[in-house]
Symmetry: C2
Subunit: 452 residues, 2 copies
């Protein structure tokens, strides 16, 4: 029997070869090429995933785990004949234990769905990569987001995993407690492995109390240096900073164009604080204003109510859409470097200079508390090579500063060349790990590292 | 040439075979057996460590990395012929970058030494396991401590490592930035591997601003349940809890005996908060008092000045000494289970019941915000088997509650049997990892996992 017919016989209606389904799974966000998988399987249980791996072993056909499909580096795009394993039907929230600050979920649950479920219990899961990503996919790429400066990313907020390995066995790694020193940390080996070492089928995640006293601030600065200085002063102050986002002057111009606003077209910081008490909030807010003004902020406004805060943050929230409408291209490429904090002004200045020199449309948005920023670049028809060169130069500059080519988007296909530059001494050991867990090359081949 | 003579020829005066030095390195804190190493080497550089591994390969003699020698599970005690690699001479602080919240240190630097160096810069390294442990050793066992509830343990606070592998090559893992998604997370594989996968020769660690507005509170409760309820209420409140330590009624009795005090002999919580502002502190302190009283605290006092805080916390700080003086034994065994928070009262009650039934002298001290607690048990002559049985029953109960046998002390020799119970499906893969990184069994054999 032909392999796909055999897959359909084993998994029945959970397998699709419809053209439109293959199309969707052959594309990646912000990734140039489309390559169709042979089929798409929608497992509904760990056993289904194990059945797919049994099939994969018998037919020597690789499997690509797919969450919500929001990855940005081609993580889910086939690099050869393969089937997509779409986990978006595994959406059960298996357990919520408020008194343990713990939830156990299937990999297809998105963080937004989880947070809607938790809201009435006064809890939330903090990692917010932006797109409505699935928790399994977020673990796969070690996602983080705007709140990482305070709450950490997936490594810090996933306590345990169930993983189906290449051979089909399901193992439990990590432990659903707040700390453990029991044996080798395999949990964090799977986090960030982009489906190349195993398929995540269950996650135990750490929950946090919903902040009650939230205040935000938006400030404009004469320069990125001044904005970075303000961010540093806030980080050093011990103030309960939960978000610190930079939008550059180009981004503010996009926003004014898109929303018809008259914001100063200057680098802006968007800040959010989670205070413990109402009285603390007021004193903290005053202190924040003092610090940002001292760093040179020219215009500062604060907000406390949810409506005010949403309005104040519109430029940050709508930036991506404003940019894409203002600079229509066929695609958008996002750089993702992170550098030691003191290098932020230097690398943002480099990005601006290169955008100008290379005549590219781009804007910078940054999680500056973590030294991580994205340049969003519109890739006009024919501009791909130039955009790629821009991205290369940013990644290389970040590496030269002791930084990383990817703060939160992962390696996928496109960043493999940077991986070798960033980890020259340890990439051979990453290859050994890949060979150990996936000797037949059945798990998302062509991503992260090539085994030989 | 005899192997040890050869080692001396290669490493010169850095090798000792003096009886007293072998003695010190043949013992472990709280570990029963003493077994002398063949020699002790005191490397002064990564190259020295590489030279020792070259020697180890040629002579097929294993190497045991030793930091400050404060590990509690026999991690540094030879299980067969081996040399100790004592890293306590590698004490250089190579870099402090306040603006990057970063320090780079050699493995022999203790966290207390690092913190003395950082104090003038308004920064600190938060992981405080108690004994003046070295940072290399703390990474080896994935240490944590009283501030972990707020700042995390070694996984969260070590960003990058240099590691010398079994074959002698030095590799760099992780990256000295606040976030990265670049390839497989090998850094966290070495953290907690207790010298069985490689020798840590350099660490890049994350620094935090020193808290300026600190307030503490000590409260006595009618029961451990009430104390745990208070701890939960505080965790759920979003108050800036930096430490939450439990001392049980037995411990307060030890303190009264040792220091001549008249504290209530009731379960006590010792709390510390790091506030952002002076005004916030006052409102937070009032809120903390309200919450602990609501949970049933019978006696509450607060402190703000450093002197008051130190005095208030004496019962927590001096507990171990008070216990050992009050219950002199030949040795002291510490359990180290961690459980989901809601199970704390149940497992502490079990510990109390077993101590009474088994006629053992013991007291409970807990990092209750993390669900981690220690029973300190005096091991009187002839009592070892009974104490071990007590420890087994606590570990098994913790595992049955979904917890871990070790929150922060690691596996070493004594907890290997629990590792298999805790991670039945993933221990075979830990063995594979061990075989991959140490095919000849040269790195601390007999600890954590046995390769076959």
């Amino acid at each position: 029997m032909n392999a796909i017919d055999d897959l359909k016989e084993r998994l029945g209606g959970k397998v699709s070869t419809a053209e439109s389904v293959l199309e969707t799974h052959g594309r990646g966000e912000s990734y140039r090429e489309t390559r169709l998988p042979l089929a798409v399987v929608f497992p509904e249980s760990t056993e289904d995933v194990q059945a797919v791996m049994a099939w994969a072993n018998e037919h020597a056909i690789p499997v690509i785990a797919v969450g919500a499909g929001t990855s940005l580096e081609g993580q889910t795009v086939p690099q050869g004949p393969a089937v997509s394993l779409d986990l978006s039907k595994m959406t059960r929230i298996l357990q919520v234990s408020p008194e343990d600050f713990l939830a156990v979920v299937e990999p297809g649950v998105t963080y937004q769905t989880l947070n809607r479920t938790l809201r009435n219990q006064g809890l939330f899961f903090p990692v917010d990569p932006g797109a409505d990503a699935s928790l399994g996919g977020m673990a796969g790429t070690n996602a983080s987001g705007t709140t990482t400066v305070r709450y950490g990313g997936m490594h810090q907020n996933v306590l345990a995993l169930e993983v189906v390995l290449a051979g089909g066995e399901a193992i439990q790694v990590g432990r659903a407690v707040r700390k453990t020193s029991s044996g080798y940390d395999l949990k964090d080996l799977f986090i960030g492995s982009e489906g190349t070492l195993g398929i995540i089928t269950k996650l135990s995640v750490k929950l946090h109390p919903l902040p009650v006293h939230v205040h935000t601030l938006r400030a404009f600065f004469p320069s990125v240096e001044a904005a970075a200085e303000a961010a540093y002063a806030l980080m050093a102050s011990g103030l309960p900073l939960a978000r610190v986002e930079l939008v550059d002057d180009r981004g503010m111009n996009d926003i004014n164009w898109y929303l018809g606003r008259t914001y100063p077209e200057l680098p802006a910081l968007f800040l959010e604080f989670h205070s413990s008490t109402r009285g603390g909030l007021e004193e903290e807010s005053a202190e924040v204003q003092r610090l940002v003004r001292e760093a040179g902020a020219s215009s500062v406004d604060t907000a406390v109510t949810a409506e005010e805060r949403t309005a104040q943050w519109e430029a940050r929230h709508q930036l991506y859409w404003a940019f894409t409408k203002h600079h229509p291209g066929q695609q958008y490429m996002l750089t993702d470097a992170a550098v030691p904090l003191s290098h932020m002004p230097e690398i943002v200045a480099l990005a601006h200079r290169l955008l100008t020199e290379m005549e590219l449309n781009g804007t910078v948005v940054g999680h500056v508390g973590d030294g991580n920023f994205h340049t969003v670049v519109a890739v006009a028809p024919g501009d791909y090579a130039r955009t790629q060169e821009f991205a290369d130069r940013i990644a290389e500059a970040a590496l030269a500063m002791g930084g990383t080519a990817t703060g939160e988007h992962g390696i996928g296909v496109r960043k493999k060349k940077y991986l070798a530059l960033e980890h020259p001494s340890s990439v051979p050991w990453m290859r050994e790990i890949k060979r150990l867990f996936d000797p037949k090359g059945l798990l998302n081949p062509g991503k992260v590292v090539d085994p030989k």
